[in-house]
Amino acid sequence: MKKWFKKNKWTVIVSVFVLAMLAFSFWYGGSAPGARGWSVMPRNTTTTETEAVGEPHSSKTPQAQTSAEDEVPETAKDAYLTDPTPAGKPAPVEPQNGGETGAEAANPTASAETGLTCTISISCKTILDNMSLCDPAKAKIVPEDGWILNSTAVPFTEGESVFDILQRVCQQKGIQMESKWVPIYNSAYIEGIDNLYDFDVGENSGWMYKVNGWFPNYGCSRYCVKSGNTIDFVYTCDQGNDVGGGSAVR
């Protein structure tokens, strides 16, 4: 036994060291019980989720299936890994087709005469409840009331997507916004708005969007805006459960 230990001393020491390093990084990364993980329970916000805001989506009725003019079978995902949209909700419009008209009339002054307007707001209220998880460097730049952009009416042109509108509004208002094109979802991914990035407030945090109170299950470049729509970008600290969009994130 003693001889064995003498022979394999360094093997033992190195393996113990490696294990200690792994355990430390596991704990430091926030995956340890108590910090965040292992107690993942759907909060009761899921019940008050989208029903409170508008049309109740009793989704899978056959009558609703015919109204959605998509011919994809109900259970199948489309080419960009998106589940079928619930009944009564707009199906995704690929930016390559829908964006054509928007691209040619990109200047918002021309769109003023079309009379199409929508409302957009950007909020990070959930961070205020999760300040302990917030990256200390970012804690000072969180707005005190949680509003990065109050509800604002913006003119737009036919065929513009939610992403186009967000990008234009942010550029006009001087709000920092970083996005990344993700080909497999055929959409832009909003990494950060106003320097608040995904994963800045715990590992379940990031930006989500809802239109008329519904969190679409596809990217914001594929949502074709209609006049009168209300777009809300919200920051979630808990996979969407704290803003009522947990069902859109799976």
Binding site: A137, K138, Q167, Q176, E178, G192, N195
Partner: protein, 300 residues
């Protein structure tokens, strides 16, 4: 002035432990302390020491430019928006500052590593770690020696090929490629065979066996003790000062830094002392050498 022409580096003559510890500390601090003053200290000291070792500094400029230009193109965080890139993402002032800092950090670390290669020869490395991690230290020293040896052997093989009439220049591309592949194949065979031979040779000498002793010419003398104390003091002070926020500097989302206090000044002074240690030791040795020379001449 004959004595100043080609003289051994004083720091390189120290005990391997001092050398290794110095480079480990300096490279770690260079990577971790992103305060512009710290970066400047590290970069300048590394450049001075590398210049003393007659290392080329020219390759650093494209490296630094590339890093400084790429960062603002890839990172868009920051509160100060200067303009918008064609991708629709903002170009921010903070990302430019961070790009410059990263360029300085990267080139400082590269310079320190090139100095390390000049000072920590493979025998020093094996002396330090041959007992603790025999196989790994042998593999490391072999792989560190591999590139220069490969180049030297390649030159030999090319000359031999030319001598037997296989010119490497002034022929058609097909013939050149064929010849190049032949040389490459020779080199691969040679390096594999060489590695096995080295391993066999070391095994036959009982390398890594318990109770094996090794000859070494390294003595831990008073000067090394002094240098080790200096290293210990500097690293303790820097670690403590770092923990106390002496080198606090934030790039994103906005540039923020601690006030310039006597404490932070002392932090930078100690960091400068640590980084300039080899140069200072060299200067001191050179001066004492000159003093003895002058004394000897006056006596004679």
């Amino acid at each position: 002035m004959k004595n100043t022409v080609s003289r051994q580096d004083t720091f390189a003559g120290c005990h391997p432990l001092v050398n290794f510890l110095f480079f480990a500390l300096v490279i770690m601090f260079s990577m971790c302390l992103m305060h512009p003053v710290c970066l400047l200290i590290s970069l300048c000291s590394a450049a001075v020491y590398a210049a003393k070792q007659k290392k080329s500094l020219r390759f650093l400029l494209p490296l630094m430019t590339l890093t400084a230009v790429l960062n603002p193109l890839l990172t868009h965080a920051g509160m100060t928006i200067l303009t918008y890139l064609p991708s629709g993402n903002p170009l921010t002032l903070e990302s430019i500052w961070y790009g410059l800092a990263a360029a300085a950090m990267l080139s400082a670390v590269v310079l320190w590593f090139s100095c390390y290669n000049g000072v920590m020869t493979s025998d020093k490395f094996v002396f330090l770690f041959g007992r603790v991690i025999p196989s790994l230290s042998l593999v490391l020293s072999m792989s560190l020696r591999f590139v220069p040896r490969f180049q030297a052997q390649m030159r030999v093989v090319r000359e031999a090929q030319r001598a037997v009439g296989r010119e490497t220049t002034g022929r058609s591309i097909g013939a050149l490629a064929k010849n190049g592949i032949k040389i490459f194949s020779i080199m691969i065979t040679w390096s594999l065979e060489n590695a096995i031979e080295t391993a066999d040779s070391m095994r036959s000498r009982g390398y890594g066996l318990p109770g094996r002793t090794a000859f070494s010419i390294y003595h831990f003398d008073r000067r090394d003790k002094l240098a080790l104390c200096c290293l210990g003091f500097c690293s303790t002070y820097l670690f403590a000062g770092w923990a106390a926020g002496g080198a606090y500097f934030q790039y994103y989302p906005y540039v923020d830094y601690g006030r310039f206090t006597p404490f932070s000044a002392s932090f930078f002074a100690v960091y400068l002392l640590l980084c300039l240690m080899p140069v200072l030791m060299d200067g001191a040795a050179q001066r004492s050498w000159k003093v003895t020379q002058a004394g000897g001449q006056s006596n004679a």
